[in-house]
Symmetry: C2
DNA sequence: TAATAAAGATTACATTTGTAAACGAAGGAC
DNA sequence: GTCCTTCGTTTACAAATGTAATCTTTATTA
């Protein structure tokens, strides 16, 4: 039970809108995504339906048009997907990968401050070396 | 030309081995992955073939057994895939997402030091706020 | 050199994903 | 109340992916 499926990139775009608005009708999602993408209405409808099947969205059907609400918090979804990707990286490379992300992301001063203090604390117990695990049995 | 395809998670496991070894025969890859996974030999062979078709691997066929070599550097592949994921996140959330990754990754002291100084430099020009772009046309 | 083992190539098939058209039901306009 | 327009549901279909068996060629060994 509690089928863990994953969200595709296309589905993710739909979720972003609903997360940001808190909830949304199909039309709201469609209007926004037709500006952001080249997708047809029908495509977006399909994505909404798939998100419901995957239990990422639920429709409030008490009124029409239906109002869709997220069943997963944006932060949780981000946590899942980012860590899922990092799980498949060589653990020796993760530090540099994070550096690469920092390079390529806009981050606010206050977030930067948080990251710096987080790193300072982490540093105390950090190992001198992280060993590559690419050839080991585990996955 | 220069078809940009992406590496699936399964394919990524194959590449990790070849990156780590520098190059490898099919048998080497198979031996390692049969320990790490439940995949059958045939499955792993398929993955190797697909990686060749996608131009991530090339086989040196001058001798048998063939020796497979990467056509993309591990760091470049990591760069591609992490940034590709981050591209679809709400830009306001990226700082916290990085914090989450730091929490969940083992990072060596020296990598942490590098990250801290990188952040200190970045801080100078960092904005006070990063605006959410989830509803904007752009993608 | 005939038999066997190993390595590589071909084929297979279900599921997921991208992308969308067509169809049916509800609500609004006349 | 009938007609049109939304909105939601069903169906469609190709490409990618996970997962693997089988066939063929090369190498090894008796």
């Amino acid at each position: 039970m509690a089928e863990i499926q994953n969200m595709t990139k296309a589905e993710w775009q739909v979720m972003r809108i609903i997360w940001t608005l808190g909830q949304a009708t199909g039309k709201e999602v469609i209007d926004i995504l037709e500006k952001k993408t080249t997708w047809k209405t029908a495509t977006i409808k399909t994505l909404i339906i798939r998100l419901q099947k995957k239990n990422f969205l639920v429709a409030d059907e008490s009124n029409r048009p239906y109002v869709y609400k997220p069943l997963i918090a944006e932060n949780d979804a981000i946590h899942e997907s980012v860590n899922d990707l990092f799980d498949s990286l060589c653990c020796m490379k993760k530090g540099k990968a994070i550096g690469d992300l920092i390079d390529n992301s806009d981050i606010s001063k206050s977030d930067i401050d948080d990251l710096i203090s987080q790193l300072q604390i982490k540093r105390e117990k950090a190992p001198d070396e992280v060993e590559c695990d690419c050839l080991e049995a585990s996955l």
